[in-house]
Each structure stands twice: as structure tokens, then as C-alpha cells.
């Protein structure tokens, strides 16, 4: 799924990406003065979720329609670790990330046995299976979810129940995740992943074990989606079935599509737009779903580059 063709790495300048990154960091640091911090934290969690998803679709060409299972699994794992075992938030997030990574390893091993459309259907089916599992298993609290999860003290020192402290924690996690994905995209690994996306047979003929590369990408993506889910459950002090539901998998696809598949900043922009839309139109109920559907249709028919992809195309530099 090519959206933006990148020129060769040697001739490419990354200055504009650094500029964009600096702008993003500045906005996120200053914004809490005017914008409700919980809302911004939600945006960052979803932005990380979408970035992780984008690593798979935008750079590996793999459409996962079951990414909610990683978001939700990590949410439950972090909530359980923090509430029942009383772990510190950083440990809870790490543990939850590992859980999602493990789930991604198991489901990825199976799903990469089929390609294209089948891959999407298989991941969707797995995530539905995971959904039913969490619906029935007692530790998740069924329909109620795990409520009043303590945010705890970071490293046992910084109290995160204060929103400003939590904000810095979430910002740090988001930026670390974003930087990691950025690094991966321009690493040799990321380049091979792109090669596989463009022409799998050719990559095989060059001697790459393409299944292995796809699996690694899937595990990284699943684990980072997990980081997002764990952080989200600490922010809202709640882990619930919503995060595992198939509609959540659809939402992350939508965020990435709207922002721009295969762009670095696209998923962040997409997440910001979709989360704002949900926030401001929440009282209209089913209209939010309808609008999401309409955005899907419009993006696929007429706006395939997405917001950031269009800007990148306009300034003729990858963003």
C-alpha cells in the first residue's frame, strides 16, 4: 500500500521531520494550559496505538484487523498488576507490554501463514476469540471491567494520581514509543520491511526470510499497541471490554487511514482528529459511528494519502 514514495536514504534530508517532531513536542508540552489534560492523554495513547498499527500497515503492508486485542490485553494486564499485585506503574506498563508482545507472537505465527485479505480476517477472528475469552474469564470483571485501578507512584517516588504528573508520564511514554518507531522505520530492518511490502517475491529471492521479518514487525507492533493500552488503563483507571471490541480495531485503522498510512506523523494527526470527534459528538450517539463510516468511505475513495500524506506530497518531503 504505497502512499508516499521515499527517495533513497542517502540523498534524503531529515531536517523537516525534526522540525515537525519539535513542533509536536512543543504543542504537547504547552497544550495542557488550554486543553483538558485527560483528553490530551487519551489522544497520546491512541496516537501511540495508531503509530504501532501504522508500522505494520504502512511499512509492512500487513492489515491487521485485530489490533484491539493487544490494546485490551495490555489494559487488563496493567490494571491487574497495578490493582491486585500492587505493582508500580512503570512495572505494570512493562509487564503489560510483554503480555501483548507474547500474544502478538502466538497470533502472528499463525496469521502470517496467510496473506493479504486472509491476514486481515484471521487477525479479526483472533481478536474476537480474545474478546470472548475476556468476557468469560473472571479476573477481567466481565461487563464491568477492572475499575478504580490505582495509578500508583512512579519508581515508588512520584505520585501519579496528580494529573500533571500523569501527563508527564504519558508524554514520556508516547515520545519514547514514537521515537522507537521512527528509528525502526529508517533502520535496515525497516527498509527490508518496505522491500517486502513492495515486492515480497523479490525480497525472498534476495535471501530474506520474509516471514521472520513480518513476524518481528507484528510482535513489535503488538507490543507497542500494548504499551498504549496499558498507559490508557492507568490514565482512566479502568480496563474494559471496549478496548478489546472489534470496533476498536476498526477505529485504529480509521485513525491511520485518515492521518496517512505509511507516514510518520499521520497516525498522530489521525488519532487527534478521531478522538476529538468522539469527544465533541459523544452526545449524538450512533451518529459518531455513521461519521466514522463516512470518513472511511471518503478516505478510501478520494483521500488515500491522508492528512499528513497530502501535506508531505505538497511539500514533496516525507513526513
Amino acid at each position: 500500500m504505497t502512499t508516499v514514495s521515499t527517495p533513497s536514504l542517502k540523498t534524503q534530508s531529515f531536517t523537516h521531520q525534526w522540525v515537525a517532531f519539535a513542533i509536536m513536542v512543543m504543542v504537547l508540552v504547552i497544550a495542557p494550559i488550554w486543553v483538558y489534560p485527560i483528553f490530551l492523554m487519551k489522544v497520546m495513547c491512541f496516537a501511540l496505538f495508531a503509530c504501532a498499527f501504522n508500522l505494520l500497515i504502512g511499512f509492512g503492508g500487513l492489515l491487521s484487523f485485530g489490533h484491539a486485542m493487544f490494546l485490551g490485553t495490555a489494559g487488563y494486564a496493567a490494571a491487574h498488576a497495578a490493582k491486585v499485585w500492587g505493582w508500580n506503574p512503570e512495572l505494570a506498563v512493562l509487564f503489560a507490554t510483554a503480555c501483548s508482545g507474547l500474544l502478538a507472537l502466538v497470533t502472528g505465527l499463525l496469521a502470517i501463514r496467510r496473506q493479504g485479505i486472509y491476514f486481515a480476517m484471521i487477525t479479526l477472528a483472533f481478536s474476537q476469540m480474545v474478546f470472548f475469552f475476556y468476557l468469560q474469564t473472571p479476573f477481567t470483571g466481565g461487563e464491568d471491567g477492572i475499575q478504580s485501578v490505582p495509578r500508583g507512584k512512579l519508581f515508588g517516588v512520584f505520585d501519579l494520581s496528580e494529573n500533571s504528573a500523569m501527563y508527564m508520564f504519558v508524554l514520556a511514554i508516547f515520545l519514547a514509543g514514537f521515537a522507537l518507531i521512527w528509528r525502526i522505520i529508517y533502520s535496515p530492518f525497516g527498509q527490508i520491511l518496505k522491500a517486502i511490502r513492495e515486492n515480497q517475491d523479490r525480497a525472498i529471492s534476495l535471501g530474506y526470510d520474509t516471514d521472520m521479518f513480518k513476524l518481528i514487525a507484528f510482535v513489535i507492533s503488538g507490543a507497542l499497541a500494548g504499551t498504549a493500552g496499558a498507559t490508557k488503563s492507568l490514565v482512566f483507571q479502568l480496563a474494559s471490554l471496549t478496548d478489546v471490541h472489534w470496533s476498536m480495531s476498526g477505529e485504529v485503522v480509521l485513525m491511520t487511514l485518515l492521518g496517512g498510512m505509511g507516514t510518520l506523523f499521520g497516525p498522530v494527526a489521525g488519532a487527534a482528529v478521531i478522538v476529538s470527534m468522539q469527544n465533541y459528538f459523544a452526545q449524538f450517539g450512533a451518529w459518531v459511528t455513521i461519521m466514522q463510516g463516512v470518513i472511511f468511505v471518503v478516505c478510501v475513495l478520494a483521500f488515500r494519502r491522508g492528512i499528513i500524506g497530502e501535506i508531505a506530497n505538497w511539500i514533496k518531503k516525507p513526513l
Binding site: 500500500m1 492489515l63 484487523f65 499463525l110 496469521a111 501463514r113 496467510r114 493479504g116 485479505i117 486472509y118 486481515a120 480476517m121 484471521i122 479479526l124 477472528a125 483472533f126 474476537q128 476469540m129 470472548f132 475469552f133 468469560q136 472489534w246 476498526g250 485503522v253 487511514l257 450517539g285 450512533a286 451518529w287 459518531v288 459511528t289 455513521i290 466514522q292 463510516g293 463516512v294 470518513i295 472511511f296 468511505v297 478516505c299 478510501v300 475513495l301 488515500r304
Partner: protein, 294 residues
């Protein structure tokens, strides 16, 4: 009477429910397979179109007084026509792109359709009366078989097998299969392939709507009925592989039965058993039971 320590009444009852579910799985996966064969698109709207079928039947009964039998013919045509409109105006533009865009577009359409109906009718179910002829049940000696359920199984078998016959044994089907293999060559022989694609999509959608009308008296008519079933049907399609029409039918009915049996022996797993079977099939035969890996 007991079989494996389970009262036969319960066992056959669940098997019957399994067979009913299997009928719907078969009809829906058949439609998906037919569409996928020619369009190379996974029709995510399929569940919404199944729901649409049930709603059109429900609304035409309550608002216009159109009875079940007329609905059974009229609804698939009507919903199929909306499908053809979608194909002409939207899907058509995507054939040259990655197949995944088709999936995303139809997903978006499903959200729109389901959202509209949820907005209009809420999420509670609405009852559709069983047609007069099918009130009551047969006593088969070992269990009571409600007449309507027997009809659903027979009707879906007939529809599935006729579809199979048309595609595998007639000249029209031969064109269709040829166009699946090599559309440009078939077009060169003077067959209007774009029209064929439109009609095929309409037919697949019509099958979904037909399933929806049949489902209306059994399950309640509600806006989310399609979303719940479509994911299971996707798993059915992965298990069967989309290469063969008969494969889709057999897998549909078979998995319905297995699901029914699971409800008797280990009810906790009944909602996941199809996904577990999918996992096993992926391990043993990744291309699906009846599929060939391309």
C-alpha cells in the same frame, strides 16, 4: 433417552440450532466466496446487508403489510439492487488498487448502514412473526422440530445447492469461472465482464439479504445482528478456503453443527470453538480445507 449422559432432547435440540446457524453461515460464506471469486474483495458490508434483509422484511410487513413469502423474493432483489449501486458507484473505482482498500471501503459502509439503523431503531430487537403455515412443530419421535426451522434448513440447502449447480454446471457459471481466472480474456471473447461483476456482487448481496429474511422470525430483527455473525463467517471462510463453492457450503453447515455440539458438551467454549478450529486448520492446512494457496 440419553446419549453420552446427555438427554437426547437437549442434544438434538442443540444440533438443530447448530444446523440453523450452519444454514446462515453457509449462505453468508457462499455469498462472500462468490463475490471474492470475481471481485477479489472481501465484502465487509455482508453482515450489514444481512441485517438490511431482515429489516426490509420487518418494515415491509409492519408498514406495508407485505407478507413473508413476497418479502422472501422481493427483499433480496431490492437489497441486491442497492449492492449493485454500491458496486457501480464505489467499488468499481478500487479494482486497480490494493485489495485491502475494498475491505476498508466495505467496512466503512457497514458502519454507516449499522449506525443509521441503530440511530433509527435503537439496539433492542424487534420480533418478526413466524408465517402462519409454519406455526407449530413436527413430532419426530425423539424431538420436537418446529416447522419454521425445518423450512429454514431445507430452503437454505436448496438455495446453496442451486447456486453451486449454476456456477459449476451451467454455461453461465462457466463464464463466471472463466472470468474469475482471466477477466481480460473473457472480455475479449465478447462477454461484458463489468456487467457480470456488477450482477455477481448483486447476487452475493442478495444471498445475504435472503439469509436475513429467513433469520428474521428466528432471531430478533436488530441493527447489530450482522456485525456479530460476520466475524464468525470470516472464520468459516478462512477454515473452508474460498476456492470452492461446495467447500463454503459444507464448511458452513459443518461448523454450525460443531458449534451446536459444543453447546451441549462444553458450553463455555461455544462462542470460541470456531476460532479454535480456525487456529488448528491454520496449523495443519494453512490454505483452508478446500482452498489452494496462491
Amino acid at each position: 433417552m440419553e446419549i453420552f449422559g446427555i438427554p437426547s432432547q437437549a442434544l438434538f435440540g442443540q444440533l438443530l440450532i447448530g444446523l440453523i446457524n450452519g444454514s446462515f453461515y453457509a449462505l453468508l460464506s457462499l455469498g462472500l466466496a462468490v463475490i471474492f471469486g470475481l471481485l477479489n474483495i472481501i465484502n465487509f458490508t455482508h453482515g450489514a446487508q444481512y441485517m438490511l434483509g431482515a429489516f426490509v422484511a420487518y418494515l415491509s410487513l409492519t408498514k406495508l403489510g407485505i407478507n413473508y413469502w413476497v418479502s422472501l423474493i422481493l427483499t433480496p432483489i431490492l437489497v441486491g439492487a442497492t449492492g449493485m449501486l454500491i458496486e457501480r458507484t464505489m467499488l468499481k473505482q478500487l479494482y486497480k488498487l490494493d485489495h485491502l482498500y475494498g475491505l476498508l471501503l466495505t467496512f466503512g459502509l457497514a458502519l454507516i448502514i449499522q449506525g443509521l439503523f441503530r440511530h433509527e431503531f435503537g439496539s433492542s430487537g424487534m420480533p418478526y412473526p413466524v408465517p402462519e403455515v409454519f406455526k407449530g412443530a413436527y413430532n419426530t419421535g425423539f424431538m420436537f422440530l418446529p416447522k419454521y426451522r425445518a423450512w429454514v434448513i431445507v430452503a437454505s440447502l436448496v438455495v446453496c445447492l442451486s447456486t453451486w449447480y449454476v456456477i459449476e454446471r451451467t454455461k453461465l457459471g462457466a463464464y463466471l469461472r472463466a472470468a474469475t481466472e482471466n477477466p481480460s480474456l473473457v472480455q475479449a471473447f465478447g462477454v461484458n465482464v463489468p456487467r457480470m461483476i456488477t450482477l455477481t456482487y448483486g447476487f452475493g448481496v442478495g444471498l445475504a439479504a435472503f439469509a436475513g429474511v429467513m433469520a428474521a422470525p428466528i432471531y430478533q430483527v436488530n441493527p447489530t445482528m450482522g456485525a456479530d455473525i460476520i466475524i464468525v463467517v470470516f472464520a468459516v471462510v478462512v477454515i473452508g478456503g474460498m476456492g470452492s463453492i461446495m467447500g463454503a457450503i459444507l464448511t458452513g453447515f459443518g461448523l454450525g453443527l460443531i458449534e451446536g455440539l459444543t453447546k451441549v458438551f462444553y458450553p463455555e467454549a461455544s462462542s470460541t470453538v470456531i476460532f479454535i478450529i480456525m487456529t488448528i486448520v491454520l496449523l495443519i492446512k494453512p490454505a483452508g480445507l478446500f482452498g489452494t494457496q496462491k
